[in-house]
Each structure stands twice: as C-alpha cells, then as structure tokens.
Symmetry: C2
Subunit: 278 residues, 2 copies
DNA sequence: TTCTAAAATAATATCGACAAAATGTACAAA
DNA sequence: TTTGTACATTTTGTCGATATTATTTTAGAA
C-alpha cells in the first residue's frame, strides 16, 4: 500500500517508449501525476540517455550542460541528478558535481551474479506461492514477446524498443509472484544496469542467439513446476548475456579519464569502506 | 570501482552518531568530501529523524517545514527529499509534495521476508568464498558488540547509540564477504527500514531477549562452517525481532490520514503497476 | 627545469522571488 | 443535508542571481 510503493515500483518498462498500447490511466486512476514536473521529465530523459549509452560512463554531468540539453533550470536538473544518484546511475560527490556511473568488466560480473541470486529467489518464491494470475501473466507475456521481432530491420540488427519492453515485462512476470515489492524493485534496478551494459557493448552484429527458444524452455519448466530447472535456465540466460558482452571486449569509460594513477581505485574504495564502518 | 560505490555504499552505520573512534580520513584519503554540502547535511539529519521515528510515517514534509527545521533554503531541502525518496524513506508525488514513507504490519512482514532472503545469500556466499579477513572481521565485530551495554541505563531501557552502531556493524560483517556491493547496499537499505520499525514500536520496556546469546550461537555456527545452521539462526533472529514488534501492536500511521476509503490501497497499487507495464 | 604558491577562472551550491498548481472555503443550487 | 462551483489561500516547482568552493593557470623561487 501507500506512497512508498509509488516511489519503489518505478521502472517496470524500459524507457516510456512511445507508449503504444492503451494508455488509459485505467479506472479511477487519474488520481496521480496528472501534471508531470520538469524535474521528473529531466529525470526520465536523462535516465534514458544513460541507459541507452548515449551519455557514456564517467561522463561529467555539468549542471549547465544538462540544463541546456534538456532545456531546464538548475533546480530541476539538480533534483533529477540527485534521484539518479540514489538509483546508482549517477555518481555524486559533494562540491565536485555529478558523473555518469562508471562501468567495468568486474562490475558486470558482480552485477550478473547478484542478479542471478535475486531472480532465483523471485522465481522460486513465485513458483512456490503459485497463483493462477501469476502463471497466466507469464504465459501472456511470453505470447506477446513471441509476436514481436527482435530487430526492426531483418537485415542488420537495429534495436526494437517494443521488443525490449516486452522482454523486460516477460522477465518481470516470472518473478512478479514473489510477494515482495522490495525484491521486485531491486531486480528492476539491476535490470536497468544490465540493460545499460548491453547498450554499451557495440552490438551492431545481429545476435545469432536463439533467445526465443531459451524463453520457451524456461516457461516450459515453469509450467512443469520444475523450479530447479527453471532457475537453472534463467540463470544461464543471464550468464550467457553477460558473457557475450564481455567477449565483445568493449566495456568502456570506467573513469572520468582524469589522471591520478598513484592510488588504485580498489584501494581507495576499500579504505573508504573501512573508515566508514568503524 | 569508483564513483558508483560512493553512492551505493552509503550507510554502513546507524546515523553518524558522534563518530567516536579514530576519524582519521586515513592515508592519502582526504581526497573526498572535505566540505559537506547543506543538502547532504539536511539529508543525513532528516534521514536520522525519520529512522528514529521522530517524524512519524505518513507525516507531511512541507518544504517550508523542513526548511526551517534544519535552517536551509528550499533547494537543498528539495535535493535531500529527492534522495530520500529514491531511498524509499520518503514518498514523493509530483505537484503534491513529500511524505514520510508509510508503515504497516504487512509491510513489516514483507520487509522481514525479503531481508531474510537477501541476508541468507550474503551469509552463505561469504561462508562459501571464505576469507580470513572476513572471518576475523566477524569475530572482531562480535567482540566489540559484547563489550557494550544494550541500554545506557541499567534500570529502564534507553537506547545506546553505540550499541546500535556495533550491532549493525556485526550483522553487516556477516555478509560482507559475499563479494557483491549491490547485495550489501540492498541489505543496508533493508536494515534501515527494519531499524525504523524497531523505533516505531514503543519499546520503553527493557528487552528481555538474550540477543547476546543469539549472536554468539550464530558466530559459533559460522566458525564451525555450518552454513545451514548459521542461516537458520540468522533468519530466526530477524523473524523474532519482527514478531516482537508486531506483538506490541502499534505500527502506527500507515497513511497521511486523509480520508479516501473508497479505493483500496492494494487496488490502486496493482492498477498502477499494470498500467505501467503495458 | 621542476616544484610551490598565489591569482584567475570555472563550476557547484544556495538563496530569494515568482509562477503554476493544488487545496481549502464560501456560497449557491438541487 | 448534499452536491457543485467560483474564489482565496497555501504549497509546490522553477528561474535567475550570488556566494562559496574547486580547478586551472600563471608567476615566482629553488
């Protein structure tokens, strides 16, 4: 219930993406957010540009730069940046401004591991609890996904936003029955991060992967109530994606590119963590 | 590595709490955050007041109110509120202001479940990876905790901030070897929430619980490398705490107290989630 | 040349004023 | 009474200007 949810259940879909299907704010529900604020608009757009990789990791986000990019004043920009920093998409240092969150191969593997852990819980718990609504939601999500082409162009690969949206919705449906909004919010956050890494890897090559088959096998295991198998497939799905990204070799711009090679990052981080926890 | 961390690894301790031990910014490390900003100050203090329960759930946070309470202008206050809303401690609705995140019994059980899931992973993974540093950290944390009284007054219960800090540090040490900063950050967030619930339950009665024993048994299982037993004890530890809070019966102020009983909360949330995911 | 220190520049953080929106109130009509 | 509507008030959200702090450049000394 309540406000907290509105804050937590934030990004079920990738970008708002032209919002095709019926946008009827459903039922009585024109209750909330009729007039979006400028800060929220900047937040959404900036978030999208970061996820899409248009703003590369480590890129400095000067207030003025963001201001004129999205045609807004300093205050809304600042608010947006502050939200994003709490989301982990932007890093902030007092008196020193904002940067697009960095990225690295190590971070990707850590991210993937964490994601597998959390989604395993989500899936297992959904299967254990088992509601018809949930099962039907999964099937429906798979069906919708299956009817959409992966790429807008059949020749070379060109991302299809609609496919991305439905793909995300499908994976979310799998864990949606876990009964924990917290877990769902965490998984959303991790999914955002993963999406960014996928965008960062230059993937002009048409993915030769049989994703469709993977999804179908997964749902088959779900319908068979074979939790172990379902989890194994899901986990493999994520691990494979990460591996592909890592193989391409370019997970760029881990840092603002400013030179201070004397102190290793890990050293700094470790020291900071230590000094805080005491 | 890098900026992201500073954003994510935020609150290892409960409030900054007079920061006793050596605050030497260690080594070369006066590199970061020398001059805290007003926005950050407001953020910390407001966060503390919410966690401590001084600002009750559902309480409206009017900009002016917060402004004069912490002697700051609108801009820094707004930034702090935006960060807190992303943290899940404050709820925000465009054009309609900020509220202290609501609380309810259902939320507490959901929170506790999630926390058990995540900490189980953290602990299991820490035990599996097993580093000496980690094990020693656990032992050290337990030792420190054991030398501090639970209450400042031996007669009636009066919270000892130092004990709270060390207690938190102890639990964090258990999962600190999991190798995922994401998981640690999530657990921190959940620990914050749990702390708030503890504070919300009027607990003037001296806790008759043998917490010390529970902690010792837990570490014993860790040292014996018995992951199943350790996890069971940890989980029981959290469940028991939640039960105690629930038994007291007062988890107050789930809502801004404004009356609109026609639409059930859950209905609203579900509808919103649905309308977004399509 | 290399290092240090001070001035110059640029960027962040903050305030106060204003515009836009929501909430509350008074009053009329059913 | 209840319902609806125009007005007044409160509050949020935004902008532009300014003070404070970091960064870069320049000048000077070793």
């Amino acid at each position: 219930m309540c406000p907290t949810r509105e804050t937590r259940l934030r990004h079920p879909e990738i970008l708002e993406s032209t919002c095709s299907m019926d946008d009827s704010s459903a039922a009585v529900g024109d209750h909330d957010t009729i007039t979006p604020t400028l800060a929220s608009s900047v937040y959404e757009r900036l978030r999208g540009d970061i996820l899409r990789g248009e703003l590369p990791p480590g890129h400095k986000l000067r207030i003025e730069f963001v201001s004129e990019r999205y045609a807004a004043g300093g205050s809304p920009v600042r608010e947006a940046l502050n939200r994003l920093s709490a989301d982990g998409l932007v890093s902030r240092r007092d008196q020193r401004g904002f940067y697009v969150a960095s990225a690295s191969a190590e971070d990707l593997v850590e991210l993937t591991r964490t994601r597998c852990w959390l989604e395993e819980i989500g899936l297992r718990e959904s299967m254990r609890a088992f509601h018809h609504d949930w099962e039907e939601g999964v099937i429906l999500a798979l069906h919708r996904l299956s009817r959409i082409p992966r790429s807008t162009s059949p020749e070379e690969y060109h991302e299809n936003p609609e496919w991305e949206r439905l793909h995300r919705a499908f994976h979310r449906s799998l864990i949606s029955g876990c009964g924990s909004r917290w877990l769902l919010a965490f998984c959303d956050q991790l999914a955002d991060q993963a999406y960014r890494y996928r965008q960062l890897a230059v993937q002009r090559i048409y993915p030769k992967r049989k994703e469709k088959g993977e999804h179908e096998a997964l749902v088959q295991a779900v319908l068979a109530r074979d939790a172990d198998r379902a989890v194994a497939l899901l986990t493999e799905h994520y691990r494979l994606t990460a591996d592909i990204i890592l193989k391409t070799g370019d997970v760029p711009g881990s840092e603002p590119a400013r030179a201070n090679p004397d102190r290793t990052r890990t050293g700094t981080v470790a020291a900071r963590a230590r000094s805080r926890s005491k």
